[in-house]
C-alpha cells in the first residue's frame, strides 16, 4: 500500500521508533518529504524510542518465552532438522538474514542503526539456536540478579558491558546481535504471535542497544518508586539521553525533513537538541482578523499576595485560597467551558482536597459542574464526554487536568468547550528523577545546554501546549491565564511561542485577580460582537485568487 499512496499520515513513532519503522516505513523513497507536525515533543519521542525499561514481570515473561522456544526447537529437531541447518548455513555465510529484501532497505528495521552492524557476520557462538537460547537465559539470570539490589544504581553502557562479560560471559558483540538473531530464530521457528513474545523482544532490544552504543545512554536500577518507598518495585531502565540518535537515520535517508509545530519555541534550541543544521528556520505570526486570544499573567491574588507553585509556596494556604478565589471569580463571568491545568496529579489532589474543605469547591459547583482527569483512561474519557455535554447544554463546566497528561497533549477544547484556560503554576518536570538528572548532565556535557535553560524550555513548552488547546481556528476566541508570579519574569516569559507573546500586552503582565476579572469581562463582551470574517482594511487574512496571482507575479 505504502508505495501507491501520495500522502501518508501516521503517528511519527512509526518513523522514529526503529522497531516499528522496519515494518512500516522501509518502502519510502529518498525523494519523499517528511513532515513532523506538532513536533514540539519530538525530542522526547526520539528518546522514548530508544529507551527500554525492564521489570520483574518482563524477565519472568521472557523466561516463559524461552521455554516455549526451546520446546519448538526440540520439535523442529525431531521433525524438520533441515530448516535449522539451513538457517545456520545462512548465518555462516554472513548474509543479511531477513528474507530477500534488498540490502539498502534493511537499515531502518534494526534498533541500533550504525551501518557496520549489518556487514558483520553473526558471531559463531550464537549461530546455533540452542546456543543462542542459553545465552539469553544467562542474560536474564544476570539481569535478575541486578534487580535484587537495595540501592539505586547508575551505570554507563561500557561498565555494564564489562560487568556482564565478567559475570555471565556474554561479550559486547553477542549483545549487539541479539536482536537480529532473535528475529531470525523466530522466522525459522515460524512464530507469528509476536505479542506473546514481547518480553523476550524487549530483552533483546535492551541487549542490542547496550551492545551498540557506548555514549548517550545510561542504565539506572531503582529498587522502588521514590514516591512509595515501602513497596518494592525494582526497575532497570536503559535511558537514552541523546534525541539525535533516533532521528539521525531520518535525516540521512530523506532529502527534505520539515519540523513544525505551534509551540516550537525557542526555535533555536531544537537544532541543538536534535543535532542538525536547519536549512531554513522560520517563525510565523498568526494572521488574525481580530484579537481573539487574550493571554494574561496573574501574579497576585485579590489580597495582593503573590501566587506560585514554587516548592516552598505551593502548600501555603494563602496561595491555595487565592487560586481558589481566582477560579471562583472566573466561573462566575466566563460562559460554558473552563479548563484548568495543574502541575501534577499529586498537586491537583492536594489543592482540590483543600478547596473541598474550605467550601470553595461547593461554591464553584453552584456555577459550573466540575470534572477531573484521572490516570485511568476510561474514567477520563467519560469525564471528557460529560464535560462536553455540560458545555453543550448551557450548564457550564470546569475541567481539572494535568499538564503533560493525556488531555493536555491530544484533546482540543475549542470554541465553547474552552473559553478560558487557567494554568496553575509552571509545569516543571520532576527534577529529582534519576533519568532526568542524568539527561541534564549529558545535555550539559555534550551540547552545552544549561540545566536551568532546558528545564524552563521544557516547562514552558508544556504550558504553551496546554493553553494552546483553547484556540484552534480564527473564528474561535479564548483567554489564557498564567497563574504564577514566575511567569512575569523575562527569562520565563520570553520562551513562550510568538503568537502568544504578540498578544500579551505589557498591561497584562502583572495582574491581580480582580484586574484579571475585569479584563475577562470586557474581552468576552467584545468577542461576542459580530465581526467580518474575511477581515477588513489592513488585516486581510484570507487570500483570494487575485492575491495569489499578484504574489506569484511579484516573486517572478
Amino acid at each position: 500500500m505504502v508505495q501507491f499512496a501520495n500522502v501518508i499520515v501516521y503517528s511519527y513513532q512509526y518513523m522514529l521508533d526503529p522497531k516499528v519503522a522496519g515494518i512500516i516505513s522501509k518502502e519510502m523513497q529518498k525523494e519523499s518529504v517528511v513532515v513532523f507536525d506538532e513536533a514540539h515533543n519530538i525530542d522526547n519521542v526520539c528518546i522514548e524510542a530508544l529507551s527500554v525499561s525492564v521489570r520483574r514481570q518482563t524477565l519472568e515473561g521472557a523466561t516463559r518465552n524461552l521455554n516455549k522456544m526451546t520446546q519448538e526447537i526440540n520439535r523442529f529437531k525431531a521433525t524438520d532438522e533441515g530448516r535449522l541447518r539451513q538457517e545456520y548455513n545462512r548465518l555462516v555465510e554472513g548474509l543479511a538474514q531477513r528474507g530477500n529484501l534488498p540490502i539498502s532497505d534493511t537499515w531502518l528495521s534494526n534498533p541500533a542503526l550504525p551501518d557496520d552492524i549489518l556487514k558483520e557476520a553473526v558471531p559463531g557462538n550464537i549461530r546455533r539456536a540452542e546456543h543462542f537460547v542459553s545465552v539469553l537465559r544467562r542474560l536474564i539470570q544476570y539481569l535478575n540478579g541486578r534487580l535484587d539490589t537495595e540501592n539505586v544504581e547508575k551505570e554507563g553502557p561500557v561498565s555494564f558491558q564489562h560487568n556482564i562479560y565478567k559475570e555471565a560471559g556474554i561479550d559486547q558483540k553477542m549483545l549487539k546481535f541479539c536482536y537480529d538473531r532473535l528475529h531470525s530464530l523466530m522466522l525459522t521457528l515460524e512464530i507469528t504471535d509476536t505479542d506473546e513474545f514481547l518480553h523476550i523482544q524487549t530483552i533483546c532490544d535492551f541487549a542490542t542497544l547496550v551492545g551498540t552504543y557506548s555514549q548517550g545512554f545510561s542504565i539506572i536500577i531503582e529498587p522502588y518508586d521514590e514516591r512509595m518507598p515501602s513497596i518494592p518495585d525494582p526497575v532497570l531502565q536503559l535511558s537514552c539521553h541523546d534525541a539525535s540518535l533516533a532521528i539521525k537515520p531520518v535525516f540521512q535517508r530523506f532529502q527534505s525533513v520539515v519540523i513544525t509545530s505551534g509551540t516550537l519555541s525557542p526555535i533555536d534550541l531544537y537544532p541543538k537538541l536534535l543535532n542538525f543544521h536547519p536549512v531554513v528556520s522560520r517563525s510565523f505570526t498568526m494572521s488574525l482578523t481580530r484579537d481573539c486570544i487574550c493571554p494574561m499573567v496573574l501574579t497576585r491574588g485579590s489580597d495582593q499576595l503573590p501566587v506560585s507553585t514554587k516548592f516552598d509556596m505551593r502548600s501555603d494556604l494563602g496561595v491555595v485560597r487565592n487560586y481558589g478565589r481566582l477560579l471562583l471569580e472566573m466561573v462566575s463571568v466566563v460562559p460554558d467551558g473552563i479548563v484548568c491545568f495543574f502541575v501534577s496529579y499529586s498537586y491537583m489532589d492536594q489543592i482540590i482536597n483543600s478547596w473541598n474543605e474550605t467550601g470553595i469547591l461547593k461554591e464553584i459547583m453552584l456555577h459550573k459542574l466540575v470534572f477531573i482527569e484521572t490516570q485511568d483512561v476510561v474514567e477520563t474519557t467519560l469525564a471528557l464526554d460529560n464535560y462536553r455535554r455540560a458545555c453543550d447544554c448551557g450548564r457550564g463546566a470546569v475541567f481539572f487536568s494535568v499538564a503533560r497528561g493525556k488531555v493536555a497533549e491530544g484533546i482540543d477544547f475549542d470554541r465553547h468547550y474552552g473559553r478560558l484556560v487557567i494554568m496553575f503554576g509552571i509545569p516543571f518536570q520532576y527534577t529529582l528523577s534519576k533519568i532526568l538528572l542524568s539527561r541534564l548532565d549529558y545535555l550539559k556535557e555534550t551540547f552545552q545546554i544549561k540545566e536551568g535553560d532546558f528545564l524552563t524550555f521544557d516547562a514552558l513548552r508544556q504550558a504553551a501546549q496546554c493553553v494552546g488547546r483553547v484556540i484552534r481556528s480564527k473564528a474561535d476566541y479564548g483567554m489564557m491565564i498564567f497563574a504564577d508570579k514566575r511567569y512575569s519574569r523575562h527569562d520565563k516569559r520570553s520562551k513562550l511561542p510568538g503568537w502568544i507573546l504578540s498578544h500579551l500586552r505589557d498591561a497584562h503582565l502583572n495582574l491581580s485577580t480582580d484586574m484579571a476579572l475585569h479584563i475577562a469581562k470586557e474581552f468576552l463582551r467584545k468577542m461576542a460582537q459580530p465581526y467580518d470574517k474575511t477581515g477588513s482594511g489592513g488585516r486581510k487574512t484570507l487570500l483570494t485568487e487575485e492575491d495569489l496571482k499578484e504574489m506569484g507575479e511579484t516573486r517572478m
Binding site: 460562559p335 447544554c393 457550564g396 461576542a528
Partner: protein, 483 residues
C-alpha cells in the same frame, strides 16, 4: 474641583478675574456638572444683592476709588458667593451625579489639547445610516413579507446574575428601564401585535402578564415584580412560552425575545428537545445577552431563525433591544397569505355606563363597542372576550403599513457636489433651511443626502425624521400629486 477666583477681595489691590466667557464650555461642564449654562437662581440673586450692598458700603468707606475697580469687586464678590454656594452643596451628590452622567465621555481632545464636545450629530447619523443599510440590504430587490401581527413573549431573566452591578445600578434595573421603553416603542410600531411578559427566577418561569396590547398594564406589572434570586432556566422558560404560543392562530407570528443575564442554565431535562419543539412550532427565538456569549443561546437562535447579540454597555443594550421593535421578515414557508376577520369597533359616547367585558365591572365613559356582539371593550387592539373577533382601529392598520413598503435609503452626497448650484440650490427640500450653513461648525462642509427616486436633497435631520417617523418621502409625494 471648583475654580476659584485668584486673589482675595481687597479693593486696594489689583484683582485677577477669570470671566466665565473665557472658560471653554468643556471646563464649564466639569465645574458645574449638572448645569449646561449656569444661571443665577433666586437665592444667588439674593446673595448677590447682599454682597453688592456690602461692596457699596466698602466703596463708601474708601474715598478715591477708580470706577473700574468698583465693578470688578462686585463681580468678584459674586463669584466667591457662587463658589461657596456650590461647595456647600453635598459634595457626594455632586460626585454621584457627575459619575452618573458620564459627562467626560462626551468630550474629546483635539490636536491642540483643547477639550471639545464630540460631534454627536454626525456620529449619530453615521450609526443610523449603518442601521438603515443593514435593514434594507437584504430586501432592496426582493419584496420581503413581514409579520405585522406579532405575538411576542418577552422573557426576562431575573436570576441572581441580574443583580450584578456592572450595569448601573443593577442589570435588573437597566433591563426594566429599557423594557419599558421597548414596550412603548413596540406598540408604536406594531399596533396590531401583542406582548406578554415572562420572568425566570429560582429556576422557574412565571407568566407575569397574558398576551395583551396595552403597554401600561405590562409596565405596571413588571415594575411591581422586580427582584432577583436563584438560577435561570432556559428550558423552563421555553417550555412555558411554547405551551402558550402553540395556541396562537396561524396568521400570528410567534416570537420570543429573551433578555438573558445569567451565564448558565439549570434545566430539568434535555434542552435540545425543547429547541426542536420550538423550531417545529415556528417560534422565532432571539436572545440578548448581558454579559457574554453562550453557546446554547447561539444554538437556539440559529435553529429558530432568531438573532443573538450581546450588549457591550447600557446604550448598546438599548440599541440592541430596540432593534427588535420593527417586525422581522416572515419565515418563508410560513408566509402564506390568509384572510383574517377583523372588526373596527366604534368608540362609545362619553358618560355612558356599561359593563366592561375585560374588567368585569361597570365603567363610565368612552370605551369601544364590538361590532359583532356589542360588548364593551376598554382598549383596542385586542380580541373580543365574548365573540373572539380581532378588534383593531383603522389608524393601527395604516401605521403598520409602512413596514411593508419602506422608503429606500437616501444616497449620501459628497460635500463638493453640494456647491453645485443646480443640484440643491443650497436648501433642504424638507425643512427649507440652507444646507451650506447647517451644522454648528461652519468650517466643515455639512453632509447631505438625496432621494434616489425624486433626486431631492435633504439635510441629515430630515433624513432621520423621514426614515424613522414620517415613512414617506416628501419629494416623491409632491411629485405624485403634481402629476
Amino acid at each position: 474641583m471648583c475654580r476659584r477666583a485668584s486673589g482675595e477681595v481687597k479693593p486696594e489691590r489689583d484683582i485677577f478675574i477669570k470671566h466665565f466667557k473665557n472658560i471653554p464650555m468643556a471646563d464649564m461642564e466639569i465645574v458645574f456638572p449638572e448645569k449646561k449654562n449656569p444661571t443665577l437662581t433666586p437665592l444667588d440673586w439674593m446673595k448677590f444683592l447682599i454682597s453688592a450692598v456690602v461692596g457699596l458700603v466698602t466703596v463708601a468707606g474708601s474715598i478715591d476709588m477708580p470706577k473700574a475697580d468698583f465693578c470688578h469687586s462686585i463681580i468678584c464678590d459674586w463669584l466667591l458667593c457662587y463658589d461657596i454656594f456650590q461647595c456647600g452643596k453635598d459634595s457626594a451628590s455632586i460626585r454621584s451625579s457627575y459619575a452618573d452622567e458620564r459627562s467626560w465621555e462626551s468630550l474629546q481632545e483635539d490636536e491642540s489639547g483643547l477639550l471639545r464636545p464630540i460631534d454627536n450629530l454626525s456620529l449619530q447619523h453615521a450609526q443610523y445610516r449603518r442601521r438603515i443599510r443593514n435593514l434594507s440590504s437584504p430586501h432592496t430587490f426582493a419584496r420581503i413579507q413581514k409579520g405585522l401581527i406579532r405575538y411576542l413573549y418577552l422573557v426576562l431573566d431575573l436570576s441572581k446574575a441580574a443583580g450584578e452591578t456592572d450595569y448601573r445600578p443593577t442589570r435588573m434595573a437597566v433591563m426594566a428601564k429599557y423594557v419599558e421603553l421597548f414596550i412603548r416603542e413596540f406598540f408604536d410600531q406594531n399596533p396590531l401585535s401583542q406582548i406578554s411578559l415572562v420572568t425566570v427566577k429560582d429556576g422557574v418561569a412565571h407568566n407575569l402578564t397574558d398576551l395583551g396590547g396595552s403597554p401600561e398594564s405590562h409596565i405596571k406589572s413588571l415594575m411591581s415584580n422586580l427582584g432577583c434570586s436563584g438560577d435561570a432556566s432556559l428550558q423552563n422558560a421555553l417550555d412555558l412560552v411554547h405551551g402558550y404560543l402553540n395556541q396562537i392562530p396561524s396568521y400570528g407570528h410567534r416570537e420570543v425575545l429573551i433578555l438573558y443575564s445569567a451565564l448558565s442554565t439549570c434545566d430539568p431535562g434535555d434542552i435540545m428537545e425543547t429547541i426542536q419543539y420550538c423550531k417545529e412550532s415556528k417560534i422565532r427565538c432571539s436572545v440578548i445577552g448581558l454579559s457574554a456569549e453562550m453557546f446554547i443561546c447561539k444554538h437556539l437562535c440559529q435553529e429558530t431563525g432568531g438573532s443573538y447579540s450581546v450588549a457591550l454597555d447600557e446604550s448598546h443594550f438599548k440599541e440592541l433591544l430596540l432593534e427588535h421593535a420593527p417586525p422581522p421578515p416572515a419565515i418563508a414557508e410560513y408566509a402564506v397569505a390568509s384572510l383574517i376577520r377583523m372588526g373596527f369597533p366604534q368608540r362609545a359616547a362619553e358618560g355612558v355606563i356599561s359593563i366592561c367585558s375585560c374588567h368585569k365591572e361597570a365603567k363610565v365613559g368612552g370605551g369601544y363597542t364590538c361590532p359583532r356582539c356589542k360588548a364593551r371593550i376598554c382598549e383596542v387592539p385586542t380580541e373580543c372576550r365574548i365573540c373572539g373577533l380581532t378588534l383593531v382601529s383603522s389608524p393601527h392598520l395604516a401605521r403598520s403599513y409602512h413596514h411593508l413598503f419602506p422608503i429606500t435609503p437616501f444616497d449620501e452626497i459628497s460635500p463638493t457636489l453640494n456647491y453645485q448650484p443646480d443640484m440643491s440650490r443650497g436648501k433642504c427640500f424638507g425643512c427649507q433651511l440652507s444646507l451650506s450653513k447647517s451644522g454648528n461648525n461652519s468650517n466643515k462642509p455639512s453632509l447631505c443626502v438625496s432621494c434616489p427616486k425624486c433626486k431631492q436633497v435633504f439635510c441629515l435631520e430630515c433624513d432621520i425624521y423621514i426614515h424613522e417617523s414620517l415613512h414617506n418621502c416628501p419629494g416623491c409625494e409632491s411629485l405624485r400629486h403634481s402629476r
